[in-house]
Symmetry: C2
Subunit: 253 residues, 2 copies
């Protein structure tokens, strides 16, 4: 079994620990956590360290910490010529300390505490500066997921950005929907089946095929009626910009 160490104790680290536990090819021999208690429910306390000087020597290290801590953490690893992988969508692998072989292992998913998720269905995007290391990365990724992509730094940047649109920004649209419900004494529950179906639709249809609504139909009457209804200037601005974008896109088709 390939031995690895995971540095971090947040959502991504915890979900990785759980996923690797089920793997027959990878063994998590140690986890670094500043606060040992935070992950003591996942593995024996003897396998957790909060001291870089006690870090075990293994062929592969995972850095699953917040983006702005990745570089600093990588320089704390007291070994060299190991494979060091971060799990961030937006950090360049060149930010990692170059005493080790740098790479990234990016699971394209949003993780919540206390919510189990089937890791086998999460796409993992792998990248390394040393071509010969892809075999190892591929082995690790396939040990927990069925979906593995080899990507470049540029592609990872693009993917992270696309994820901001489909995840962070989409959630903000849910928030606006929720706000409109609250303002009008409506139960947000009413919108949840629609939200689910909107996400389900694009499993089989392209987003262009799935597009509906007043902007798609260029239905000026409904658009104006919607705009008149809105009193919040921020919501109005978002409505106008996204409507214009849908209409412009329709012209290009």
């Amino acid at each position: 079994m390939l031995e690895i160490v995971i540095i971090g104790s947040g959502n991504v680290a915890q979900h990785l620990i759980k996923a690797f536990k089920k793997s027959k090819k990878i063994k998590v021999v140690q986890v670094f956590a500043r606060n040992k208690e935070s992950i003591s429910h996942l593995l024996p306390i003897s396998k957790i360290t909060s001291d870089y000087n006690n870090l075990k020597e293994v062929p592969v290290y995972f850095i699953a910490v917040s983006d702005n801590a990745v570089a600093q953490v990588s320089s704390q690893i007291p070994f060299s010529n190991k494979v060091v992988l971060h799990t961030s969508g937006s950090v360049a692998i060149s930010d990692l300390d170059d005493k080790n072989i740098r790479g990234s292992f990016y699971p394209v998913q949003t993780f919540s505490k206390n919510k189990n998720i089937d890791f086998t269905k999460i796409p993992i995007c792998i990248e390394t500066e040393q071509e010969t290391m892809y075999k190892t990365l591929d082995l690790i990724a396939h040990s927990i997921s069925d979906i593995v992509y080899k990507i470049t730094s540029q592609q990872r940047k693009a993917l992270h950005l696309a994820a901001v649109f489909v995840n962070n920004f989409t959630n903000h649209l849910y928030k606006i929907g929720n706000d409109i419900c609250i303002e009008n004494q409506l139960d947000f529950e009413i919108l949840k089946p629609l939200i689910q179906e909107t996400a389900n639709k694009i499993v089989n249809l392209s987003p262009n095929e799935a597009q509906t609504g007043p902007a798609k139909r260029n239905d000026t009457q409904t658009i104006n009626s919607n705009l008149n209804f809105l009193t919040n200037e921020n919501q109005k601005e978002i409505y106008k910009l996204l409507t214009k974008s849908i209409i412009d896109n329709g012209k290009k088709l």
Copy 2:
């Protein structure tokens, strides 16, 4: 059994016909369709008419046609003092011909051709100008769905608008995600599990609790890096506006 007639042959009409077929309390005695063939797979041709003069007399009529045709269709019904319900989110019930008892029966969902959907889980919002009619509307709605809300015209307007945000606009964000993938030779499949999970998250979390990403963290470095990556001015504008909206919202919390 309560007898009804459905006018229309589009997605909503077809899904309603299928749903009422399973109901033991409602009987669809006739459907009006300009093109009989379009729904001949759903019921015997003898039950389909394309002539308003042949419309059967029943207590309740459904108008499930495109928004801008609702008013005109309602005036073609050759009866009066019947219950006439349209299924639109954005048409006022006062747009219906006042020779009949006007109301709306709004299933808050997006319907696709050839995609079956469990109607029992679709919230149906009912509204009528005559208070005594709610019992009938409630009976009809509950005959096909477990989730029924009595709402006002103003609330239906709000709901339709909220649906534009969480459905139409969300789908457009998927489209932008797809575009970014295409431009960078990435498979849009990579984003689909994330899209699903984004929708799943808000089943148990409020959109405010579920919000993540650089804007939520006010992570200026990542925001600027994302903006530098974008070359499409329209995408840039949408990125800026939604980021600003998330940041401003965070300040209010």
